[in-house]
């Protein structure tokens, strides 16, 4: 067994430097690597290009890095929940590339799968297609999109082991499973780091070869963005 375990989040983020491109897993606040984000907020690292479906909210998730002006550019599909984000974007302080969500996911998956580019119908005929190669397949128009190139992927899983095997829970799988192994180095923070041999190999979502560093997060707040409930009858 090749161990991927690092002792803590400080060891996990070694080598992340100003100006790098980093993928962050999560959808909204669901399944975000909150311990690693918190650790990055406490560094002087800046000018980051962040690939993440969303940009957190003002006081949680990537919103914390935005507040400290550590992000130069965001590549996202939906950024509607963050007032500071909007302010920085409209004032020109923050560069923003908006990309369709399925394209964002596939650009991660392509990087993970060693595929440099692919064609998708999403965004054909819109400003997303500007400057991109267009081709017709089976009577339908498609645009070419390229795999992301990232220095680090930072993902969050429910359970993991020292070998780097990951299991996700519920919809927290989202972009985490697509980003694992998509960057040059993948950091996985898990809620529970279990001894090797306790996870059933049949149930592993991401095999350990995709993960270079794994640690158990100290604390998970797991904030809920929209708490919707129904009354008991």
């Amino acid at each position: 067994m090749i161990t991927k375990k690092v002792n803590n989040v400080q060891d996990a983020i070694k080598g992340i430097e100003t100006g790098m491109t980093i993928m962050f897993g999560g959808f909204g606040l669901c399944g975000i690597p909150e311990n690693t984000i918190a650790a990055l907020v406490n560094t002087s690292i800046s000018d980051l290009t962040c690939i993440s479906n969303n940009a957190g909210v003002d006081d949680f998730g990537l919103g914390l890095l935005l507040q400290k002006k550590q992000i130069k550019k965001m590549i996202s599909s939906y950024v509607g929940e963050n007032a500071e984000f909007e302010r920085q974007m409209l004032s020109g302080e923050l560069e923003v590339e908006l990309t369709p969500q399925g394209t964002l996911a596939e650009r991660c998956r392509a990087a993970q799968a060693g595929i440099p580019a692919f064609f998708t119908p999403a965004g054909y005929g819109t400003e997303v297609a500007e400057g991109k190669e267009v081709r017709e397949f089976n009577g339908k128009m498609h645009i070419m999109e390229q795999a992301f190139k990232a220095d680090f992927s930072i993902v969050k899983a429910w359970k993991g082991d020292e070998a780097g095997n990951l299991i996700f829970k519920g919809t927290a799988r989202n972009f985490n499973a697509c980003m694992a192994g998509a960057g040059k180095i993948t950091i996985a923070e898990v809620e529970e780091l279990v001894p090797v041999g306790t996870l059933d190999p049949n149930q592993i979502h991401i095999p350990g070869i995709m993960v270079q560093r794994i640690f158990q997060g100290e604390k998970f707040e797991k904030r809920i963005e929209q708490r919707t409930v129904r009354k008991r009858a």
Binding site: V79, G125, T126, K169, K222, Q226, K231
Partner: protein
Amino acid sequence: MLTKEDIAKRIAKEVKDRYFVNLGIGIPTLVANYVREDIAVEFQSENGVLGMGPFPFEGEEDADIINAGKQTITTLPGASFFDSAFSFGMIRSQKVDLTILGAMEVSENGDIANWKIPGKMVKGMGGAMDLVASAENIIVAMMHVNKAGESKILKKCTLPLTGVGCVKKIVTELAVLEVTEKGFKLLERAPGVSVEHIIASTEAELIIEGEIPEMDI
């Protein structure tokens, strides 16, 4: 004139037995409340769940189980979770039978705009561009006119597009419209709303054939 709930009720009639359905944020989310109980339907949410159920009971919310609107949800027996790339894979490969989403503008050739107002609002397209580019069957739930009383059903969209030539049907507070090769065809009118009212509220030309029935809500 229909309420938002009425619009959802009318759209629910388009949901057929054995359909996999993706619901957008806003009025489309309400459609799930009005689907007939004697048919089998599964709801997909693009953040990675199939077999979505109602909101959880108070105290049973799980931060790890949400829909694409970031709302806490539950799952029904037979449900499954998957990652975002897989989720859009099933959307692009047309496993999802029906997509219901909101819009700011729709044009008579079926173009839709719903993600950006230049200089005012940029929230992003989320999964809407993938959904409208892939789905065969797209129904739009929207208000016929904006707050200033201007038509959102247009000859040509003025806002940045989300997709081209993709919308099949529109349900508004005033009418049900079908997008045909010759433009919008008026299918039904809201109870108590006249055809003249609908014409006056629509910038695009309407194809009107015979008596236009009232919607059955």
